[in-house]
Amino acid sequence: MSEQTLTLDDHDHHEHGPAKGFLRWVFTTNHKDIGTMYLIFSLVMFLIGGMMAFVIRAELFQPGMQLVDPGFFNQMTTMHGLIMVFGAVMPGFVGLANWQIPLMVGAPDMALPRMNNWSFWILPFAFTMLLSTLFMEGGAPGFGWTFYAPLSTTYAPPSVTFFIFAIHMMGISSIMGAMNIIVTLFNMRAPGMGLMQMPMFAWSWLITAFLLVAVMPVLAAVVTMMLMDIHFATSFFSAAGGGDPVLFQHIFWFFGHPEVYIMILPAFGVVSEIIPTFSRKKLFGYHSMVYALIAIALLSFVVWAHHMFTVGMPIGGQLFFMYATMLIAVPTGVKVFNWVATMFKGSLTFETPMLFAVAFVVLFTVGGFSGIMLAIAPVDFQYQDTYFVVAHFHYVLVPGAVFGIVAGVYYWLPKWTGKMYDESLGKMHFWLSFVGLNLTFFPMHFVGLAGMPRRIPDYALQFADFNMMASMGAFLFGTSQLVFVYLVIKTVRSGKEAAQVPWESAEGLEWTLPTPLPYHTFTTPPVIEHK
């Protein structure tokens, strides 16, 4: 890649700042305000979903039914999954994108600012509706976040209709957010910045946005088919009327597998920004990193049925999905090797963002290894729907997606707020989270292999010890997130003033901007000259 120099116009003509009062947040079209709202929303949902995880782990602390009844337990696992996926992780990444993409590609704002406002403001209503089902007669949906028919159609509680409508709203929000990102990246890059000069975070979001636009309508379709089956006497998923319950799973996972990458690719982007900065060395293999992202995205469309190895597919299908899934290890491996090569012979320091990024690489890779094991169909019969799967996807989602978001927040918080966070609090947050999550999720591999099915409210005695350990880890992980909440509040209210470039060798357009950041930035695009 050619060397770049950055030439900037002066930025000292900021004639208007934000409006005053609450209505600023209602009417705002500013990408920074909307990014902030997304991130706060994500944090609130993370804490609500976390409280549900508390209920789950408390009930599983020891064998026997102690705190809740099995029906409510199912509602907790279902809502925990839905809220963490659609409420915490996805909006968290959209928040990062809103803040960072215009700053990183030299654009004054997102391309479609009013739509941006709307795509955020749908979310609080969608999740209020989803959470309200907890208080309805018959309770909230208890059929798992994957809502397999016919448990979610013929046998669902009445609140399922509200669930369907909430999913529709979240889908609309995601599609609009994704379109906005695609349009911004294609049209509003600074003059001179070609696609292959885009920062990795922008690349990862461009790919993610295409995945979102491709698969969110599929999710909308499948919930609409459910709605038809429930209220309008169709039989898409009922064999009695000529339908097929397995059809539901095919459509759901055609959405669901790309969705998994939607939740991890932006984290790849964040980590690819952080590791070079704290290694004081350029990202190794930029081009192959981009190609790997594209390869992962394309493969994600042809592997969905590896979630369904036990539904009784013909052997040809079984083999195809097994081989295709194993192939994903190749581009994913390339990414991990490139991060390690970036660190190799660097000059490393370990501030909080780097700690989270390094933990991301290690623990995501652990989740990747169990992913390869799960890809092997004949062995998957023993893993499918056990705690081994729970361990696998929590390893890619917690130290993967969540650590990715948290690392990004620590990395860019000094630029966003103009204040420096408390480094020792940040490190404390990291180590508590790191110990807590490994204590929670690593033992789940063992109980899963030993035969504990997932989504059960009570278990046989031989699983007791590891479950108690996992519960204690979960309580530690959950409470240590309060350190993060405190840290962010403390930074905003009383943090020390941050330097324009708080990290020694951070590169990228966002660091060329002054601190504190003006309300409007890059009103005149920066020109990127190639040497």
């Binding site: 208890g142 052997i315 083999l319 012979k345 000059s347 290894f369 092997i376 292999l449 009570d458």
Partner: protein, 372 residues
Amino acid sequence: MQRFLHQFCITLAFLIPSSVYAAWELNMPRGVTDTSNTVYDLHMLILWICVAIGVVVFGVMFWSIIYHRKSQGAKAAQFHESTTVEVIWTVIPFLILIGMAVPSTSVLIDMYDSSESDIDIQVTGYQCKWQYKYLNEDIDFFSTMTTPKVEIANEQEKNPNYLLEVDNELVVPINKKVRFLFTANDVIHAWWVPELAVKKDAIPGFINESWTRINEVGTYRGQCAELCGKDHGFMPIVVKAVTQADYDIWISEQKATAQAVAAAANQEWSIEDLVAKGETVYQKNCAGCHMVDGSGLPPAFPALNGNDVVLGDIEKHMDIMVNGVPGSAMAAYGKQLSAVELAAVITYKRNTWDNKTGEVISPADVKAYMSK
């Protein structure tokens, strides 16, 4: 190939200390079939390949973390691209994956060959119990969890088979190829016994196949593996593998029992006997949803205490019991319960809690209704 896998894993197994405490069980069981042993070996092979890759990748990473720190005076190198290296670390993982795919394919092909079976058993999932139908023997029964509610509620000490015990075990002979045909009555269930390495979804309206050939006499326990509603955690599977001689004895006992049940329907039953039997049937089949005291969990599971149907027309009550309520969780019990059991549970419901109708529904009434 399979023999190589086996040798390889045995060699590796000696390299790590293995835990012998059941409570701290770390790994998949080896199981008691040839298939489960092959699956175990394949699992260990893939695991060790992953561990080896992990050691190399994390080794380089931690080397950098330790020796290439700024605080150690490390100066950053300038390299940031190498097509050769990229090609190498694309090709090598690809070759490793081919190495994994070859044995996996052969194991899978073997698992899919359910032809030439000795015994065929149809397994039907219900919310939340299993039905086993021996297709060549005219034997048909339900298998329900027997763990008492007091153990689940922590009011009594839990027995060693807590949540993994049933009233009627699935009995099969050893060294015979047993073919399972899976289906379901309501929602999707999954039949899983880890020691047989058999897991297959039971899907309403469709039939899935799988098979096993058990090598050792013993009792093997498993659970439903697909979320099937509120009692998903309470539908265990118990397989009892016996010798062919014991299996033959069991078959004849089952047939004798079936005749006795048929005979009981022709006896005269007093209201006390029916209510007493009905209470047992109710606890086993109804109390999970309608609660022990008949209060239910409205709106999905209506209360039976003071219920209009229970206190009203007997025909309507029998209809719901025999045919279920389509489109709801209320199953059709016409095939699950005998005429005596149906008569007993209907009589019980009409003469317990605050329901005091004094009506007696005899097995003959039920048979008359069902033959209409």
